[in-house]
Amino acid sequence: MRPEDRELDDEIRGHLALEVQQRIDRGEDPETARLNALRQFGYVPRMREEMRRVWYSRWFDMAEALVQEMRVGLRSLLRAKGLAATVVITLALGIGANAAIFSVVRGVLMRPLVNRGEDLLVYIGEAKQAGGVEETTFSVPEVKDFRAGVPSIEKFGEFSTIDFTMNGLGEPRVVHAGVVNGEFFDVMGLKPALGRLIEPSDDGLNAAGVAVLTYRFWTNTFNSDPSVIGKVIRLDKGNATVIGVLEPSIPYPAETEIIANMIASPHHMGAMMITLRVHRMTQLFGRLKPEAALESVRAELNTVHATMVREHPESYSKRAAQAQMNVSKLRDQIAAPARTILLLLLAAAGIVFIIACSNVANLILARSVRREGELAVRAALGASKGALRRTLLAESLVLCGAGAALGVLLARPMMSLVAQFAARFSVRALEVTVDSTLLWVGVSLAMIAAVLLAYVPKLPASGSSTAPSLASGSIRITPGTNRRLRVFATTQIAFSFVMLAGAATLLATLISMQTAQTGLDMRQVLVADLPAPSLGLATEQEVAFYQEMTRRIGELPGVDGVSLGATVPWRDKGLGSVAFSADGFAPANGEELPRARIRIVSSGFFEVLGVPMYAGRDFNAGDRRDSEPVVIVTKSFADRMFAGGDAINRKMWWVDPFFGPKPTPRRIIGIVSDVDDQNVVRGSVMAVYHPLPQFGMAGRLFVHASGDPYALVPSIARIVRSMSATQPFERAKTLEDVRTEVLAPQRINAFVSIGFAGVALLIAVVGVAGVLAFGVSARTREFGVRLAIGSTPADLLKGVLSEGVVIVSIGIAAGAAFGYAFAGIAASYFDSMRMPGVGSLLGAAGVLVSAAVAASLMPAARASRVDVLQALRSE
């Protein structure tokens, strides 16, 4: 009970006491007196209601007035349906886009992780160096050093990825696997959905191989079948028992299907993994001791790193020796890649909102000018400025409220689109759900818009020059209003131009990537994954097996050539670049050794892909494991290392601890054109090709087809299956389709930005058309006079059209200036920021101008059709 109510009760009691006393004095008996007093007093709750209106009269008055105004506003808006619909849709688009993107930004950048104790979870890596790449993985000896030397971290989690050929659970297939130590899940704070997870007892040489399925893999591939627990699977050449299913969690640090312990992975138990300090493939996570500060952890890590560099100088390049260690909250680490793109999206959505608001402001301004007469009458009748403003506010509340409602509805589908887009940068976007913030963002944006819009129209100055407006019901357009209308329209065009130019740049980039010359036969080459069993050197039998397989595939009708390789262009990451040296090469003082990509192919590879040979010969059956080591190099390699001379028969050797202390010299037997299998737009490439029997294993099949490449897939699959039931054969695609597939992110980029630019363009065009239409209807009389004194309708048409073109031109100029300044600022924050090409700018300008001309056509046509007599009679 509020104090007012309590006081009222006391007052009533006091009143009744007096009344009873009076009646008793008059001779009534006490009981009757009490009843009569109560009866006379009347119904208390009604009085209380009445009192409320007195106590809170201000609120009652305001609410009542506003509801009244809103009812009036709704009615008057229903008379202007076109305008109302335009405003509502425009606002809905602006609000929807903003609410959607804000939800994703909040979900990805600001929300805590689901992991238990996520506040103590850290990610350990090298700090980013200026212009360089940071190392994110460590070798087993390095991890051992960190464990010993960083007491602030309570537990370390190790994670490395590897692909296994998995047998024993459904079809033979390649699975992406994570290999972890026993503390990993404890560090990450993850729980099993079924069975148990990998524990410290699963570490060590005497443990049995175990594997955990990720939730997604278990549900998608095994239909959540609980009987998978306890099954024994083969991973490459080792065995592992399935012990559990991981709870649903974000696929981090890598999207994997199974997670195994160390012993389950032959590679992780190999000497190279355990002893080689440069064999870095482990990502490192930690759980802090509760009192540890990030700063002190960083200092400890750096001390250990410095010691490592001092004690093992041979294992650290100059760059690695200078590197600083970094430790960051896991939450920030996961969100970091998405930050830039999300903030850019937020900026785009903000611009759309500005355009939407200025467009709505425009329409409302035009409308309020039409209503100047009405407002002037009300002002003359004594309506205060506040009352008039309230009318405008009520109307814009109705409009913006409707816009927000529609916007919130639109926001859901828009948000899932944006979330999918953002998921490529941060897995956290996958768990973004629609939450109530979406609603609040939408509603508060609408309220802001409503208040802003209510203050756009100028009120008739009380008492001053209202006379002309009162005198006639027609529209008088003042220079001030006209200027404001044009400023809004120009603003919209300017921002639309910025967005269109951005979208055009992305589109141009996409097209140039999609159509770039790759130097490969894109349409007729079919590639497929044919994963080899291990990373080690293939045995004689394995080589023989694959040679027999390719021979049989080569005999299929429609196959022109068949070869093996290790890297599908663009789809596979390849083996990386390694330092090397060559005959007669002496690095200048302090110069680092050059690096080249390592590639493994079988004979016929270049012919199958359509890569021309400049000199020398291809590999052949004579290049066996026990014969002389030979290589084929790219044109860029030959030019760089043997400028002007002949590279054939010279020797090169890899200089990397990985290849041991005594490098094997390899004779160059051929030179081929550069093939850039990492970038869709080709750069010059230093690469060294090794013959399959002499260097590791190749797990990719390349087939040149004379007809439809996809028609060959079933027969190839049959041959593979008939030779080995455990050999996977997957992801068969033409090179053209591989390129299309890897360009999907660029396509989504272009798609999203074109979407935004399209919305902006649409709104801006509506804005320009609105301004011109308003101008034309306000100038009906003027047009009538001009027609009467001899102007032709064509002159009027031209006049209105050129007015539209002028607005657009000024807008484009302003947009270009703003965009240029903005891009300059943005470029200092984002490395990948590119200035749009002239073509894109011209394209964007062209689209805007033609859209504006189209938008001006309708009002212009109306101007030219003005009926002289009617126009002159209209006043």
């Binding site: 006391d10 007052e11 006491a17 007096l18 009347g42 009445e50 009192m51």
Partner: protein, 119 residues
Amino acid sequence: MAKTPDPERLEILQGTLDMLILRTLQWGPCHGHGIGQAISQQSDDLLKIETGSLYPALHRLEKRGWLKSKWGISEANHKAKYYELTAPGKAQLLRERDRWSQLVNVMGRIMNPAAGTEE
């Protein structure tokens, strides 16, 4: 539940209750019950003030600053709220009285035109 109108009693004119309350309080502070009684007695029971209108009116006048109130002990030996005229309230009473006599004058001229023209 329509009340049967009492033929003897006059309905209080819209807007005049405030003036009557201010007028009554000119004699000094009084509680709601006393104000109602005073108005009835002075009109020889022809004007009856409903408590349902009296108390909202008192609170409204207090809110406007024309009255102020404090708690006291009534004749019935019970807690009661005493209302008192403020300076702005006195000024308001004068204004209302002027307006009232003007209104009566004008109404009189319209209702009895003969009396008006003779003056």
